[in-house]
Amino acid sequence: MVKLVRDDEEKLIARSQSGDVNAFNQLILQYQHIMYGTVLRMIGDYETAADITQDAFFAAFRSIQSYRGGSSFRAWLLRIGSNLACDHWRRVQRRPAESLEALTEDDDLHDPGFLSALATTGTEGNPEESLLTQELQAVIQQGIEQLPLDQRVAIVLCDIQGLSYDEIAAATQSTLGTVRSRISRGRARLRNYLTQHKELLPRNYRLTSSNNDG
């Protein structure tokens, strides 16, 4: 994906603000991957995520007047997308599993070897073709969906989309301290979830990843 030079982006934003759809569509081309990816990871349903992504871009174009330059445009867009995703989630009223509610966010003793086995499988190599099996991806996705919404947004933006703390603060309209705390609590919860659900994981991941899955 070709990165837009910052000047170009500002020009495109200015043109969009004067009603130029073509200019805005160039911005969409730039950001639709991250928007869709964020929404999808937050709610876990492909079709709904696509609809919400489309809605988010429409909403963004409608309210582009309210974007003030200087801050990250990406964060501004993702704020709209993540807000819509949160709204949808609340509407659907899916509640976190009770098993997770019972978990404390702080540490218990768990099996460190298990997680290291998981982590080493996917980190190297092409991120487009993850080495994580579908099953493991599903487990992680499930874990993300178990997080409270504020932590979920922070985790998805930080650990999946790679936004900076500053951008996440802008996207969630919160302070850096809040962002830090949400990310930390989200990670701790997720770690506990993954250790709890290790029986769901394919056997070759609990051992080492030497025998391939194909």
Binding site: N22, N25, I28, F61
Partner: protein
């Protein structure tokens, strides 16, 4: 912050993964980690969790999310046909309006509601007028249907008017009396009839008394009333039949409008 002998918090460890600690804080953390295996394990687990999240593949885009430009470049219609269709239906006008008035922040929704409200107002107005016409048509039908009785009492009015004001009423007495009943319903009068009506109406209550008193008078009046039939084509058209028809047409129009309103929301509210 943390003393070398105190365990590190999850938040500190988490923040250190993202280089979010101040240099001094990071140094303390490193110092503690060297000696504390428990915190090392915690940090490793957090790092692995992050690595797992990071290893999740970027999903493939199901379609392009570019917005349709006017009528050109409508996005590729994929699985969610209904949604994109609705979007495509809404947007061309939306875009046009935007290019005209770029300053308005939310042009599409208000525009849709304008159209809807105007349609709603128009159809309700049409319905109201239609009902009025229909009712007046029916009433007109009653008037002509019960013409014998009503005109009998009404026909006397001129005769009492004759008593009250002889000069005007007497010369025109024969012509206006029958037409007056129709005149009250239609409002279309020959000049003579209107004068007689103007004479007659000021005293409506005396007419009923007169009807009771002048029994013999009524029969002669009703005889005169049998004269109107010569004029029916004009009268019939503007009374019962015509107005009822007009009323029905208007009602049908308003019904069409309401049905149209019912159809629109279904299409646009698809999420």
């Amino acid at each position: 912050m943390s003393q070398p002998d105190q365990h590190l918090t999850t938040e500190q460890l988490s923040a250190s993964l993202d280089q979010q600690l101040a240099p001094q804080e990071q140094d303390q953390l490193d110092a503690h980690l060297k000696t504390c295996e428990e915190c090392q394990v915690k940090l490793a687990e957090l790092r692995q969790t992050v690595a797992l999240l990071h290893a999740l593949p970027q999903p493939k885009l199901p379609r392009s999310f570019a917005l349709p430009v006017e009528t050109v470049a409508v996005p590729v219609v994929t699985p969610r046909e209904r949604a994109t269709e609705a979007v495509a239906v809404v947007t061309p006008g939306e875009q046009k309006r935007r290019s005209e008035t770029p300053r308005s922040s939310r042009p599409d929704r208000p525009r849709l509601t304008y159209i809807r409200t105007t349609i709603r107002v128009m159809s309700t107005l049409a319905a109201m007028v239609g009902v009025i016409f229909l009712l007046s048509g029916l009433l007109g039908g009653l008037h002509t249907g019960g013409g014998a009785t009503t005109s009998a009492s009404a026909g006397i009015a001129p005769s009492t008017a004759q008593n009250a004001s002889k000069p005007e009423a007497t010369p025109a007495a024969n012509v206006p009396k029958p037409t007056r009943t129709v005149a009250s319903a239609v409002g279309e009068l020959s000049p003579i009839a209107s004068t007689s009506a103007a004479v007659a109406t000021p005293e409506p209550s005396p007419t009923t008394f007169a009807a009771n008193n002048n029994g013999g008078g009524t029969s002669t009046q009703s005889q005169r009333l049998s004269e109107p039939p010569p004029a029916p084509p004009l009268i019939d058209l503007s009374t019962a039949g015509g107005r009822a028809l007009l009323g029905i047409i208007l009602l049908v129009l308003s019904l069409c409008g309401l049905i149209f309103l019912r159809m629109r929301p279904q299409r646009t509210e698809v999420k």
